[in-house]
């Protein structure tokens, strides 16, 4: 067993009583051994301190979310300026702006219209205009059409495509708001929503948030964009 193994086992509580006693005796008598132990311990405590701070911040954010439930937030007139302010702040803080933008551009794509496929000779229905526009990459029209449809019908699938259109129109915050209105537990597109939300946060340089969503997606066991996810996760 190397010296480092011994130290790790001691800190892990894996040593027997006799081994522990021997370890502690060595600490008292062998100065080099003691220095190696102190070195390990110092690093451990320093990491512990940083990790605890990170977690504390994370919990405080959770608490804030709780206070301002998302619905309330959306109605608030401070929401959009707030997001804009975060965006600007992120801009100044982020050092890897270029990398993140490139990554986003590499990974973003146009999700196919699988909800209302347009086939030749098909009679028009209420949704046709929106999805024809979507398929023709006319996302401005798609967005307008979907928005007007959603005024009278609360259809989560339409909302999903509205958010996708908004992404293509580079209205990222609006897209996130739309995704947030969709219940992940019941949506047919939950993997897609997590993936595209993660990309938006990447674009916004909120890498931690992006990573969090990717992990959430990982937990669903979905195979959606598995290769790209892996690539992004590694970069983050």
């Amino acid at each position: 067993m190397t010296q480092e193994d011994q130290i790790q086992n001691y800190l892990n509580g894996k040593l027997s009583t006799a081994e522990r006693a021997e370890f502690e005796r060595k600490l008292d008598t062998d100065a080099d051994f003691k220095a190696a132990f102190e070195h390990h311990k110092n690093l451990q405590i320093a990491f512990e301190f940083n990790e605890a701070n990170e977690l504390k911040k994370r919990f405080e954010m959770l608490e804030q979310d709780k206070v301002n439930t998302f619905q309330k937030l959306l109605r608030s007139r401070f929401f959009y300026p707030g997001i804009a302010a975060l965006f600007v702040l992120g801009f100044f803080i982020g050092k890897n702006l270029k990398n993140e933008q490139n990554l986003f551009d590499d990974l973003i794509d146009v999700y196919p219209n699988v909800y209302q496929p347009i086939t030749r000779g098909q009679s028009n229905n209420d949704y046709s205009d929106a999805f024809v526009a979507y398929e023709n990459s006319d996302f401005e029209t798609a967005e307008k059409e979907l928005e007007s449809l959603l005024l009278t019908t609360d259809n989560e699938n339409l909302r999903f495509y509205l958010a996708l259109s908004k992404i293509q129109n580079e209205k990222f915050d609006d897209a996130l708001s739309e995704f947030d209105k969709i219940d992940l537990a019941t949506s047919d597109y939950n993997s897609e929503i997590l993936w595209y939300s993660a990309l938006i946060y990447l674009k916004k340089e909120q890498n931690q948030k992006s990573k969090q969503l990717l992990q959430q997606l990982e937990e669903t066991g979905s195979a959606f964009k598995a290769a790209k996810r892996k690539k992004l996760m590694e970069t983050l």
């Binding site: 690093l43 451990q44 405590i45 320093a46 940083n50 605890a52 504390k56 994370r58 959770l62």
Partner: protein, 181 residues
């Protein structure tokens, strides 16, 4: 999945330093812990603070010591840590409150944590400045106490020697940062 399996599953995710699992636990027991803490006449803000510190202590113990709870569940372990912290808080405020409650089911668990020394605080801030790859490997070795073999398994490093040499380069870099201060 039964409750126990879910608990065991969460425990193994905590050992792997999975923050999402921790967040799940945080949300799961938050209200119950606050209600529990209220019995000791502590304000909600303080209780929430104690709850967060308890969750963090618990998590770090899972991560650092690869803790496996033999009989207790995450909840009883967490509440045991919390109870200990509640009593410590009461003590600092010079208030003692005895609760005679037959429902009392939590044994105090004391996870004494060491306050970092000034030198360790400087080290902590240096660790935030080194490269992500260094931070990550050092964190695995020194904080999570993973062996070189375990690190090879979890990462893309070719073999143990590559891990060792990268680790020692990172330590050198850290030392240089100290020298240039």
């Amino acid at each position: 999945m039964t409750r126990t399996e879910d608990d065991l599953n969460l425990q193994s995710r905590l050992r792997a330093d999975d923050k999402n699992a921790l967040e799940r636990i945080y949300k799961k027991y938050r209200s119950e812990f606050i209600a529990y803490g209220m019995r000791y006449d502590i304000g909600e803000t303080d209780i929430l603070d104690i709850y967060q510190d308890s969750i963090i202590s618990m998590h770090q113990n899972f991560v650092k010591s690869k803790l496996e709870l033999k009989t207790a569940s995450i909840k009883t372990y967490l509440f045991g840590i919390g109870k200990n912290k509640i009593f410590k808080t009461l003590k600092t405020k010079q208030r003692f409150k005895t609760i005679n409650d037959e429902r009392e089911e939590y044994q105090e668990i004391d996870l004494a944590s060491q306050e970092p020394s000034p030198q360790q605080l400087v080290l902590a801030s240096r660790l935030n400045q080194i490269s992500e790859s260094c931070r990550s490997i050092l964190k695995m070795f020194y904080y999570r106490n993973l062996t070189i073999d375990e690190i090879v398994e979890l990462t893309d490093y070719k073999d143990g020697n590559t891990v060792r040499s990268h680790k020692s380069r990172c330590i050198k870099r850290l030392k240089t940062m100290f020298e240039t201060v």
